[in-house]
């Protein structure tokens, strides 16, 4: 099947009924894991992603230590059952690249100099994938870092834009990602400083700019949802102390 076989729009709406500049439904829960220092569960459309933060903690192996700052490690991993055709467990080239750029998306806001010789570990598990797992992972990781009490200059929010049927769209879903013309994920601070930018496909310079604008608008909306989730967790702690209920995959 190639892109010409798919009609991406019906009556001006997308396959799942969204407008071109509309996000999929997003759900965020903070503090879903007991063992981790900070954690977050996120659903973005059909994506189900969980992030955990451990640290700052001792670095093993020791030669990775840095005398004046904490190192940040980010591990993006897909569960074997998260995709249509079972994925072989363990890291592959794709997950290693995503881990690297995701770490670099978060590191600029983390006050690593507060914790010399330590490591801040971020673990992201994709439980169900539906296009946009890296952006979901970064959004969850940013909330989990805050939940772990890691000092940061700001939150990081991430969203993708794409191009299908010569139209720029926000937050592509699986079909749009597979058969679309371009995918452009970004991550940024609420001020609009971009910390991740990737693109594949084909865009004119003008389209590129419009895609960045649209992805930034999406990321801003996600920032509000991240913030709400954190504030909500706090009020739950005050109203029902000790009842820090866990909600994964509900």
């Amino acid at each position: 099947m190639d892109e010409t076989d798919i009609s991406f729009f019906k009556d001006g709406l997308r396959l799942d009924g969204r407008k071109a500049d509309q996000l999929r439904p997003v759900k965020i829960e903070v503090g879903v894991l007991a063992r981790a220092d900070g954690s977050c569960y996120i659903e973005m459309g059909g994506n189900k992603v969980i992030a955990a933060v451990y640290g700052p903690r001792e670095v093993h192996p020791r030669h990775l230590q840095e005398a004046t700052r904490a190192i940040v490690r980010y591990r993006y991993n897909m569960a074997s059952f998260s995709v249509e055709d079972r994925k072989r467990p363990g890291p592959d080239r794709r997950s290693q690249e995503l881990s690297k750029v995701s770490r670099e998306a978060l590191e600029p806001v983390i006050l690593t100099s507060f914790f010399p010789r330590s490591v801040i570990d971020v673990f992201v598990e994709v439980l169900q994938a539906d296009a946009g797992t890296r952006t979901a992972g970064i959004n969850a990781a940013s909330v989990a870092l805050a939940d772990a009490g890691i000092p940061m200059k700001s939150m990081i929010s991430s969203c993708a834009a794409g191009k299908v049927a010569d139209t720029i769209i926000l937050d592509p879903m699986k079909e749009e990602d597979n058969f679309g013309q371009a995918d452009l994920p970004i991550a940024m601070t609420p001020n609009g400083d971009i910390t991740l930018l990737q693109m594949d496909g084909g865009l004119t310079p003008d389209e590129f700019q419009r895609a960045v604008d649209m992805a930034m608008k999406g990321a801003r909306d996600i920032y509000e949802l991240q913030r709400d989730a954190l504030v909500r967790k706090y009020s739950q702690m005050v109203e029902q102390p000790g009842r820090e209920e866990v909600h994964v995959c509900d």
Binding site: V109, R117, D147, M152, S235
Partner: protein
């Protein structure tokens, strides 16, 4: 007092002079570094809801010996950084080969941070009558961010607690607390500290703790 939940990056004030703990200044404005509760007084401080204990000289902490080298005990202090207790900081003169006779792996100690260098080498001492090996009682762990609530303003909460539950209590700034007393007294102390830990972020905590102790003790007698 004005309090508000904030997340990292929230704008707190346009007056740089009000920057307190857990905040940073950029272009003359004050922003939050942490997810936590911002207290707006002259200075704005953000109290985190979680986070790791980072040792500061002068802190009393409770540690667990995790290794022994030629002249140091390596002590886990519930922090990203281990503490080093040098043989010379033991209250009595001992030889290197008998170190494990006095403190072995798994021993809990009440100790104090004497020095932290820029590479986060943490030095500890036992040279004070209040410090030493824990031989009896219980050690419980709460988040170190809750320790200030347990101590209370000017030590009000902890001294009230010690009196009411009739226990010895040693509060480690690293969130580990030693309790020693009669079995029932220790149970009550444990319950009360758990309650303080759980409700540390709520208003009117002291009154609730006083009521709680009254009810519990009433039920006992």
């Amino acid at each position: 007092m004005d309090r508000k939940v904030v997340v990292p990056g929230d704008l707190l004030s346009e007056d740089a002079k009000r920057s307190g703990e857990g905040t940073y200044v950029k272009n003359g404005s004050v922003y939050s570094l942490l997810y936590g509760l911002a207290n707006f007084r002259d200075k704005i401080n953000v109290i985190p809801l979680a986070g790791k204990y980072v040792p500061v000289p002068g802190d009393n902490v409770i540690g667990v010996v995790k290794d022994i080298t030629f002249s140091n005990w390596i002590v886990d202090i519930n922090s990203p950084y281990d503490g080093l207790l040098h043989i010379s900081e033991f209250p009595k003169r001992i030889e290197s080969e008998e170190m494990s006779k006095y403190l072995h792996i798994g021993s809990s100690i009440m100790t104090r941070v004497t020095d932290v260098d820029p590479t986060m080498k943490v030095e500890l001492t036992l040279n004070d009558k209040k410090l030493g090996l824990i031989k009896a009682g219980q050690v419980i762990e709460i988040s170190h961010t809750r320790v200030p609530r347990l101590i209370g303003k000017g030590g009000s909460m902890i001294s009230m607690l010690k009196k009411e539950v009739n226990c010895n209590i040693f509060v480690g700034q690293n969130g580990r607390i030693w309790i020693h007393g009669g079995t029932e007294d220790m149970d009550l102390a444990l319950k009360t500290i758990t309650l303080i830990d759980r409700e540390a972020h709520t208003n009117g905590l002291t009154d609730r703790i006083v009521d709680f102790l009254k009810t519990e003790k009433g039920a006992r007698s």
